[in-house]
C-alpha cells in the first residue's frame, strides 16, 4: 500500500509536467535538432540542400573574421543597451516600489501597457518622432532653435534607443520585484544608525536589489543580442547585428545550412552568458519577476 502511494507520488510530478515537457520537446528540442542537422548540410547552386556531413559551414562561421566582428559588435550593442536599461530602469523601479499601493497598480499597468502594442509598431514609432519631418525636428525647427533638421535616425544610437525602448520594461519589472522583497525597515534601521538616505540606499537597498538588476540585465542582454528587427528599421547601412546575418543567410541567400550554423553559434554564445549568470546569480531570480518563488 505504502509503495503504491510512493509510486504515485513519484509519478505525479511527471504527469503534471508532461504537457510542458511535450511542448518543449515538440517545439524546442526537435526543431533545434533539425537545425543542428541542417548545419552540417550544404547549399546547392539551385538553393536546395545537399544532405551529408560537411563541416564547411562551421568552418566558415568559426574562422571568418566577418562573422566574428559582427558578433562582437552585437555583444557590444547588447551591453550598451543593458547598461542604459539599468541606469534608466532602476530609478523607475525604485519609484514604483516606493509608491503608495493605489498608484503602484496604475504605474505597473502603465509599464506593461506598451506590451499590448506590436514591437514592430513601437519600433517604427521612432521614425515619426526622430525623423527629418518627425515631431522633434519639427518642434526644434519651428521654434527657431535649429535652422535645418538633424539627422537623428538610421545610425547606431537610434538602434540602441529602439532596443532600450523595447527592453526597458523587462529591466524595470525585475528590479521592481527585487525591491519589493526588501524590508523597508532595514533602510530605516540604517538611517537610525547614522546613515544618510543616500548611504542607506548604497549600503543596504542597492546590494539587496542586485539579484533583480542582474536578472533584468540578463534578459535585456540576451533579447538585445538576438534582435534583428530594430537594426532593420532604425539602423543605417552598416548597423547590422548578428541575427541579421542569420536572416540574410536563410532568407536572402537561401543558405539554410549556413544560417543554421550561424544561429547555433549565437545560441551557444548567449547560452554561455546564461551559464555564467546561473553560476554566480542563479536562474531563480528571473522566475521571481514572473511571480514565482
Amino acid at each position: 500500500m505504502a509503495s503504491t502511494v510512493e509510486a504515485r507520488e513519484t509519478r505525479q510530478p511527471w504527469i503534471l509536467l508532461s504537457p510542458a515537457l511535450t511542448a518543449i520537446v515538440l517545439l524546442l528540442i526537435i526543431p533545434l535538432a533539425f537545425i543542428v542537422v541542417y548545419s552540417f548540410w550544404l547549399r546547392t547552386a539551385a538553393g536546395s540542400e545537399q544532405v551529408g556531413f560537411y563541416l564547411d559551414n562551421w568552418k566558415e562561421a568559426l574562422t571568418d573574421s566577418f562573422y566574428r566582428d559582427i558578433l562582437l559588435s552585437t555583444l557590444r550593442i547588447a551591453l550598451i543597451t543593458t547598461i542604459a536599461c539599468a541606469l534608466l530602469g532602476y530609478p523607475c523601479a525604485y519609484f514604483i516600489a516606493r509608491s503608495k499601493s493605489g498608484n503602484k497598480t496604475l504605474l505597473l499597468l502603465m509599464l506593461i501597457l506598451p506590451f499590448w502594442i506590436s514591437y514592430i509598431i513601437r519600433t517604427m514609432s521612432w521614425i515619426n518622432i526622430l525623423g527629418v519631418s518627425g515631431a522633434l525636428n519639427t518642434l526644434l525647427v519651428n521654434s527657431g532653435l535649429l535652422a535645418e533638421p538633424l539627422q537623428l535616425l538610421y545610425n547606431e544610437p537610434s538602434v540602441i534607443l529602439g532596443l532600450v525602448h523595447f527592453l526597458l520594461p523587462f529591466m524595470v519589472l525585475n528590479v521592481y520585484v527585487s525591491l519589493e522583497g526588501i524590508d523597508e525597515s532595514l533602510e530605516s534601521a540604517a538611517r537610525s544608525l547614522g546613515c544618510t538616505s543616500w548611504q542607506s540606499f548604497l549600503e543596504v537597498t542597492l546590494p539587496l536589489s542586485l539579484p533583480g538588476l542582474a536578472a533584468g540585465g540578463l534578459l535585456c542582454f540576451v533579447l538585445a543580442a538576438g534582435t534583428y528587427i530594430t537594426p532593420l528599421v532604425l539602423g543605417g547601412a552598416r548597423d547590422a547585428m548578428f541575427a541579421n546575418l542569420v536572416y540574410e543567410a536563410i532568407i536572402v541567400q537561401l543558405n539554410w545550412p549556413l544560417g543554421s550554423a550561424l544561429s547555433l553559434m549565437l545560441l551557444f554564445v548567449l547560452g554561455l552568458v546564461v551559464t555564467v549568470y546561473n553560476r554566480f546569480v542563479g536562474m531563480g531570480q528571473i522566475a521571481k519577476s514572473f511571480g514565482q518563488e
Binding site: A46, I127, L153, G236, Q253, L254
Partner: protein
C-alpha cells in the same frame, strides 16, 4: 476541365484497372447526386476540382489593394472561391517561405521575373498550366511569354502580368531634371548628396547600378571589383537601404532622402500623392517583368480560372491603373485606355525593345557568390 472530360478520365482509369468497379460506380453516383440535387454528397464530388479558396501572395500596399478591388472580389463573386491574399516584402523572403511550406499551402504569387521564375523551376516548384483554360493569354505581349517558355521547356507555370523599371527617383525640390539627366546612375554616388541617398538592399539592384556607374553592361560585367567599389561608395554615401515599397515611399515623401533608385509604379504613386518626384531610366536601366506564378501542388483549374480572370483586359487594366505598372497586355491588341500610356516604362510598340531585362541564366549563375559578397559589403566590408 469540363465535366465530360472529367467523366472520360474517370472511365479511362476504370478501364485501365486503376479503379475498382465499386469505387467507379460510387464516384459516378456521387457526381450524379451532386449535380442533380443539393445534397451533402455534392461537396465530395466537386472538392477535388473546386477548392473553397486559393491563396495569392503579392507585394502589398497599393498593389494588393488594386488586386483586391479589381480582381479578387469580382472573382469571388463570380466563382464562389475565396481568394486569401497575403503579402511578402521581397522575392527572397517569399521563396524561403514556400520552400518551408507543405505542397499546396501557397498557390499563386506575384513574382518578379525572370530570374525568380528560373529559381522556382530550379527548385522543382513549377507546374504545367493548361493554356487552353486561359484564353486571355492571347492578349499578352508575345515577347514576355516567350522568355518564360524558354526557362520551362516551352511550357508555362505562370502568366506575365505587368512590367516596369527600377529607375532613378529624385526629389525635384533638391535635384533638377537636368542634373539627374547629366549624372544618370552616378547621381547615386554623388558626394554632394551624402546622407540623402538611399538604395534598395537587394543585391541584384545594387550590382546592376554598380555596373551602370562603372560603364559596364549589367548583363555581362567584366570588372566586378570596380562594381563592388561602386557599391561601397554608394553604401558610404547612403542614409540607409530600404527594404520595401512602403519604406521607399516613406523615405522619399518624408525627405529623409533626396534620391534613390526606385520602382516606377511607386514613384508614380508618390507623384499622384502630390510629391514633386522626378524619375529617370538611365541608358541600360533596369527593366523587369512580373508574372502571376502558380506553385506546384496548387489546385490547377481554380488557379487557371483566376489567371484567366486576372488577364481579362478590363481587370488587368484596372489593376494596372491601381498599381501604376503597365499591364502585360499587348497595346496592339487591346485598347489600354488613357492612364496607362502615361505610366513610366510604358512601351506603346508592344515590343519592349527599349527596355533591358536581366539575363536570368547570368544572374542566377552568380547568385550564390554575389548575394553573399553584397551582404558583406552592405555591413561595411
Amino acid at each position: 476541365m469540363d465535366n465530360s472530360k472529367r467523366y472520360e478520365r474517370l472511365l479511362e482509369r476504370y478501364k485501365n484497372g486503376d479503379l475498382d468497379r465499386r469505387t467507379f460506380l460510387g464516384l459516378i453516383g456521387a457526381a450524379g447526386v451532386a449535380y442533380g440535387v443539393v445534397s451533402p454528397f455534392s461537396r465530395y464530388a466537386v472538392a477535388a476540382s473546386k477548392p473553397d479558396e486559393v491563396r495569392f501572395d503579392g507585394w502589398g500596399g497599393v498593389v494588393s489593394e488594386a488586386f483586391r478591388e479589381h480582381a479578387f472580389t469580382p472573382y469571388e463573386e463570380k466563382t464562389g472561391i475565396k481568394v486569401v491574399d497575403g503579402t511578402f516584402g521581397g522575392g527572397d523572403e517569399y521563396l524561403a517561405r514556400v520552400k518551408a511550406s507543405a505542397p499546396g499551402e501557397y498557390n499563386l504569387a506575384h513574382l518578379s521575373g525572370v530570374f525568380d521564375y528560373a529559381r522556382y523551376h530550379g527548385l522543382g516548384l513549377t507546374t504545367v498550366l493548361n493554356e487552353d483554360n486561359i484564353p486571355n493569354l492571347q492578349y499578352v505581349i508575345p515577347k514576355l511569354i516567350e522568355v518564360f517558355r524558354g526557362v520551362t521547356d516551352g511550357k508555362l507555370s505562370c502568366v506575365p502580368y505587368d512590367y516596369g523599371t527600377t529607375g532613378i527617383a529624385y526629389n525635384r525640390k533638391h535635384i533638377s531634371d537636368d542634373e539627374a539627366k547629366e549624372k544618370g546612375a552616378r547621381l547615386l554616388i554623388d558626394e554632394k548628396y551624402k546622407g540623402k541617398i538611399g538604395g534598395w538592399g537587394d543585391w541584384r539592384t545594387r550590382i546592376w547600378y554598380g555596373a551602370l556607374q562603372t560603364d559596364q553592361d549589367p548583363n555581362n560585367a567584366t570588372d566586378m571589383e570596380a562594381i563592388w567599389n561602386a557599391i561601397r561608395t554608394h553604401r558610404d554615401l547612403s542614409l540607409k537601404y530600404w527594404g520595401s515599397g512602403a519604406e521607399l515611399m516613406s523615405l522619399l515623401a518624408e525627405e529623409e532622402i533626396y534620391t534613390t533608385e526606385g520602382w516606377s509604379g511607386r514613384i508614380y504613386a508618390l507623384r499622384e500623392q502630390g510629391h514633386d518626384m522626378g524619375y529617370l531610366d538611365p541608358p541600360n536601366g533596369y527593366g523587369w517583368q512580373e508574372c502571376i506564378f502558380v506553385i506546384k501542388g496548387s489546385p490547377l483549374e481554380a488557379c487557371e480560372e483566376l489567371l484567366n480572370f486576372m488577364l481579362e483586359p478590363a481587370t488587368a487594366i484596372a489593376v494596372a491603373e491601381g498599381q501604376n505598372y503597365p499591364p502585360a497586355l499587348d497595346p496592339n491588341k487591346v485598347d489600354l485606355g488613357e492612364k496607362i500610356p502615361k505610366l513610366p516604362a510604358f512601351d506603346p510598340s508592344g515590343t519592349l525593345d527599349g527596355l533591358t531585362f536581366a539575363n536570368s541564366a547570368y544572374w542566377n549563375g552568380n547568385e550564390q557568390a554575389w548575394s553573399k559578397e553584397f551582404g558583406r559589403i552592405q555591413k561595411g566590408y
